[in-house]
Amino acid sequence: MTTQHSRGSPFAPHTDEETAAMLAAVGAESVEELFDIPDPVRFDGEFGIEPRGERELRAETRALLGRNDDLTEFLGRGHYDHYVPSLVDHLADRSEFLTSYTQYQPEITQGFLQVLFEYQSMLVELTGLEVANCSMYDAATALGEAATLADRVRETSGSTVLVPELMREERRSVLENYTEGAGLSVETYPHDDANADLDALTEIASEETVMIYAESPTVRGAIEERLGEIGDLTDANDALFVLGSDPVALSVLEEPAAVGADVVIGDAATLGLGTSYGMGLGLFATREEFVRQVPGRLVGASTDSGGERTYTLTLQTREQHIRRERATSNICTNQAWVALRTAIHAAWLGPSGLVDLATECLEAPAELAERLDDLTGVKAPVHDRHQFREFVARTDQPAEAVRETLEGKGFAVHAIDDHLVQVCVTETNTERTDALVTAFREAAK
């Protein structure tokens, strides 16, 4: 009894006979002979990693991840849980999509190119801007790329990027890493009840300002109410206005192009991916005039030898594999497959489903905040704004204690300040709001 493939990689199909014949064909006695590695740097191959069978590994990883507590999450702040329809998994897992590479040979990869063209097109509709790329890694890196774009396209010099005080510090840290090499510094403008403090911002903005960044909804879930004025202010300083948002919010919010946004960034994976420990899809859309400065990949329409409409990667001379150190970005591998998922999810919802979903994102937090506000020791919402998906509550008890108590009762919320708790509610957890309110009553008193 011989097991042909039991030794070595189960995914290398060579039988012993084949290996022998192939060695003979290349004139080698053994495979080791083919390695041109000097002895001093040779390694003995013993990593100390034990191979396991597929069945054992599935059981092992199920047990391992099963150690995560089964909490109902009321968490947001940049990563959201919307229900991903089953269709998305089934279609995106088709191997022709999942196991293909970047579309360097467009004739044999029309399928994925059309998917990406459609993804771009949907973002063009949602943002009102003319150009959307195929994807960045996530919202934070898209913001970083927006800053270097702003720096490249500005005709006069300048070195400051303005960002809101209320912003995930992680996102800001990424921005700082992206801008440091370009010699830009990141400065903060203050807020006023979870919106930009426009007076203060006007003070701070100057000809040194390369870019102003605002979010709507903000990290606290507030709709930013004076985007048009921020746009005007940015224009007045010859800077770029970069807006952070997401596709669900954009389904109902005023079009970014209409408020003067030059770039829209965000996490497009709020559709298509669900909660995935922060994995995202960097949305990046901008005006046509900046198209040759866009980072990442672009799919354009063309024609084939048969005269049919086709799609292909275009303007590749912007990219690192051709322009190298003068490229618009170093990005190569991106999040194309997530864009596929986002496109399917968006198409599954359609405009009616998107508007319905966004409406629920406006109604559900208002309703939940009202219920929490009724509890002893809780004031909610803290901000007098239109809240999208999430809101902030003030607790008499220390926020961290409230969070911990809730976790003990099976619920996860954010403790964002000494007495501030943030709660996010979408269609995936609304049915648990009764239970949350009950638990909150205990935790907050």
Binding site: R7, G8, S9, P10, A12, P13, M22, V31, E32, F35, D36, F43, G45, F47, I49, P51, G53, R58, T61, L65, N68, D70, E73, L75, D89, E96, T99, S100, Y101, Q103, P106, E107, Q110, G111, L116, F117, E118, V131, C134, T141, S173, N177, E254, G274, G278, S302, D304, E308, R309, T314, E325, N330, T333, A336, L340, I344, A347, S352, L354, R403
Partner: protein
């Protein structure tokens, strides 16, 4: 002969766009927002689930993946992606929010910690971060770490040295970090020329970025000397992990003197490419550099796994923890193979490249190569050769790069092809080698689309269906 599926509906390309199939405009009157904060209406495709299922099924059939056939795209390591890793990543318990308390996601943290440990062992490194979401992001992290390292020693440097045949990302990543790039011309044998290196290195050298084996598949035999020279001027040695599949179990970057490296899990560790991503580009470092790793990092504490900020952390390069779902797959793949499987993967990848090259009629000027070889199409145009190969039901190699080889056909079959598959691949190469210019330029004929006009795409930019409408 192979014929790709072609779904052809009316006049609108090979399959009508979603927007052409059905589009609706929805008013936002009932949305509870003041008018000045909301848009008036939204226009997007509105299709039923059956229609969508067909749309994407048809598009998928007009796409070619690793499970369609050979995909010997040089430098891309297009391995088979084991199916069970998808199931592991799809476990509901994997779907946690990044702001969960560490105490409540011990499973996730332990998996991350285990993967860091696996990668450290494989690379011979002392610490690994999993945060970079792609190889280029890993390079950027490496550059930021180099920068932080030098700055911590009050030793600001301005240059990064990179061989001319290196991946384009190396140059771009160095530039994004604010460095000037010093390009290192390759030696006649296709490897680093030590004299040229000597000339390029200086007190300004922050790092040398190296791929080993390099993009010609050649091992840099002088690696110890190279490492010594870089370290002597106070620079760091960076390892580009794109070609790590050549060395698994036979050599480790850490042992060769590399201080920082990235891993492409979507190459070496078989996570699927997904049509361009997501991948993941973990970065390994020597002990000395561990304090600069991105924030947060996982460690095992008394009460279980915890997150902490390394002492001199460079901060963040991803908004959260990177491409988590991809990392799960990499973990599962490495655990499935173990020592013996990993070593075998490398052995068979190198054997396959050597065997395939021996069966291909095109000349391969540089050797001994490892997991990939660069053949020259000679008098033929390499891009045309690639188009014609499509008609034989295989994916062609990477073309016209590296430029050291004229009309380069950079070919990496990986370990997943067997002999008969390689023979058919060789037949495709050789058939095209024997064809005349006319036949080649007319190709492809058996793919969903015929030869596509790249110039038109760039000259008459239409990047959305809105642009198409306006154009027509």
């Amino acid at each position: 002969e192979y014929t790709q599926a072609r779904w052809n509906t009316d006049e609108d390309g090979y399959e009508a766009l979603l927007s052409e199939k059905n589009e609706e405009t929805v008013e936002t009157d009932d949305v509870p927002l003041p008018d000045d904060l909301k848009r008036d209406e939204l226009t997007l495709p509105e299709l039923s689930e059956p229609e969508l299922a067909r749309h994407y099924t048809r598009l998928s059939q007009m796409n070619y993946g690793v499970e369609s056939g050979p995909y010997p795209l040089g430098s891309c390591t297009m391995k088979y992606n084991p199916k069970f890793t998808e199931d592991v990543a799809a476990l509901p318990s994997a779907g946690v929010h990044p702001d969960r308390s560490p105490e409540s996601i011990q499973g996730t943290l332990e998996l991350l910690h285990r993967l860091e440990d696996q990668l450290a062992r494989i690379g011979g490194m002392d610490a690994v971060t999993l945060q970079p979401p792609a190889g280029a992001a890993g390079e950027f992290v490496g550059i930021l770490i180099a920068k932080a390292y030098h700055e911590s020693r009050n030793d600001e440097r301005s240059e990064v040295v990179i061989p001319d045949a290196a991946h384009g990302t190396n140059f771009a990543s160095a530039a994004m970090g604010g460095y000037d790039v010093v390009e290192l011309p390759s030696g006649e044998d296709g490897r680093v020329d030590l004299d040229a290196l000597e000339a390029a290195l200086s007190e300004e050298t922050a790092a040398l970025m190296l791929t080993n084996p390099n993009t010609l598949g050649l091992f840099e035999r002088d690696i110890e000397e190279i490492a010594g020279m870089v370290h002597d001027v106070g620079g760091l040695l960076y390892y580009d992990g794109a070609n790590l599949n050549a060395l698994l179990g036979r050599a480790r970057p850490g042992d060769m003197g590399f201080d920082v490296m990235h891993y492409n899990v979507h190459k070496t560790f078989a996570t699927p490419h997904g049509g361009g991503g997501p991948g993941a580009g973990p970065v390994g470092v020597s002990e000395e550099l561990a304090e600069f790793l991105p924030n947060p990092h996982v460690r095992e504490g008394d009460g279980g796994y915890e997150l902490y900020e390394p002492e001199s952390s460079i901060g963040k390069v991803h908004g959260f923890m990177g491409n988590w779902l991809v990392l799960i797959k990499a973990y599962a793949y490495i655990a499935r193979l173990g020592d013996s499987g990993l070593s075998d993967a490398s052995a068979k990848a190198v054997l396959n490249a050597n065997y395939l090259a021996s069966q291909v009629e095109y000349d391969t000027p540089y050797e001994p190569f490892h997991h990939e070889f660069v053949a020259s199409a000679g008098e033929q145009d390499a891009a045309d050769v690639a188009k014609r190969m499509l008609d034989y039901g295989v994916h062609p190699p990477t073309t016209k790069w590296p430029e050291l080889v004229s009309e380069a056909l950079m070919t990496e079959p990986t370990e997943v092809e067997n002999r008969s598959s390689l023979d058919r691949l060789a037949q495709a190469f050789n058939a095209v080698a024997g064809e005349d210019r006319e036949a080649i330029e007319a190709a492809p004929e058996r793919t969903a689309a015929g030869r596509i006009d790249q110039t038109e795409a760039a000259r008459n930019l239409r990047l959305s269906w809105r642009a198409l409408d306006e154009d027509s």
